[in-house]
């Protein structure tokens, strides 16, 4: 149980997993084919940001409540952005009958 005992109380773990989520989200944004896949990867990215903020605020900050308030703001903004993205995706599908990113970037002009 040695390695498990140092895990929870350490900021490095939270920072690592936040960066892992960020990297996965970035990979998804570069390589997924549809708009909804892009949205899912974007959400992962924002989760990584939230965990990072919260970890830094809890371990290194003076005011722990401020960390929570700021994380709440990040959650709220990410939710608003997801809603707007979905509205756009539905409108795009209705007009062009496709949400594939390759085809959409060919419809120029």
């Amino acid at each position: 149980m040695g390695i498990f005992e140092i895990l929870p109380g350490n900021i490095a773990v939270y920072v690592t997993i936040a960066h892992l989520l960020f990297g996965l989200g970035l990979f998804g944004m570069l390589f997924r084919r549809t708009l909804i896949g892009l949205l899912i990867s974007l959400e992962l990215l924002l989760q990584g940001v939230g965990v990072n903020l919260m970890a830094f605020g809890t371990f290194l900050g003076h005011d722990h409540i401020a960390a929570r308030v700021i994380t709440l703001f990040v959650l709220g903004i990410a939710a608003a952005e997801a809603a707007l993205f979905l509205g756009i995706a539905v409108a795009v599908f209705r007009n062009y009958q496709t949400v594939s990113i390759d085809k959409l970037s060919e419809l120029k002009g």
Binding site: F4, E5, L7, P8, G9, I11, A12, Y14, V15, T16, H19, L20, L21, F22, G23, L24, L26, F27, G28, L30, F31, R32, R33, T34, I36, G37, L39, I40, E43, L44, V51, T58, F59, L60, H64, I65, R68, V69, T71, L72, F73, L75, G76, I77, A79, A80, E81, A83, L84, L86, I88, A89, V90, A91, V92, F93, R94, T98, V99, D102
Partner: protein, 173 residues
């Protein structure tokens, strides 16, 4: 009994970490978009567990309510409205795939190096979280109001973008 509680605590933390990582990998690498969606839900619940372990059950529950309750269901609706047969999956891997590996690894190395002399440890304790409300209406009032304006704009924008204009469809404008 006390030692057993700590073993359960560490095991639960390991499960939460594994769940977040596995959910994230599934969300990005799956072919079928519904499997991606499932992976995202698992990862989001894992992140809620991480918030709980960081000492804030309130933020963990807010995460579950906002994300898994509302955003995931909205994404599910969007998913079912915009699906088309041959379009899902990953693009073939090119050397650009090194960017999402190198960039976060570099950032992580820089962060850990910067933290190495400041490292504080200790299991975060739970606080009295009613102070969040006081902060939202006191010190952070301005961001709070701006975010409510932002949310209103997002709702109005989403509705107006996705609205079906009935009059145009019937032909009598």
């Amino acid at each position: 009994m006390d030692n057993f509680i700590f073993k359960v605590y560490y095991l639960s933390f390991a499960i939460v970490l594994a769940q977040t990582a596995a959910g994230g990998v599934l969300a990005v690498a799956a072919k079928n978009l519904i499997h991606c969606f499932l992976g995202m839900v698992v990862a989001l619940i894992g992140v809620a567990g991480l918030y709980y372990h960081l000492g804030s059950p309130f933020i963990a529950l807010m995460q579950v309510m906002i994300y898994v309750g509302a955003v995931c269901v909205a994404i599910a609706f969007g998913l079912s409205l915009t699906r088309k047969a041959g379009e899902e999956g990953l693009k073939p891997l090119t050397p650009i795939a090194l960017i999402p590996v190198v960039l976060p690894a570099g950032m992580l190395a820089a962060t850990l190096k910067g933290l190495s002399h400041l490292e504080k440890t200790g299991i975060p304790r739970k606080l009295d979280e009613s102070a969040i409300g006081w902060h939202l209406l006191g010190k952070y009032l301005f961001p709070f109001e701006i975010i409510s304006v932002l949310l209103t704009m997002a709702v109005i924008g989403a509705v107006s973008v996705a609205l079906i204009r009935r009059r145009e469809q019937n032909g009598n404008i």
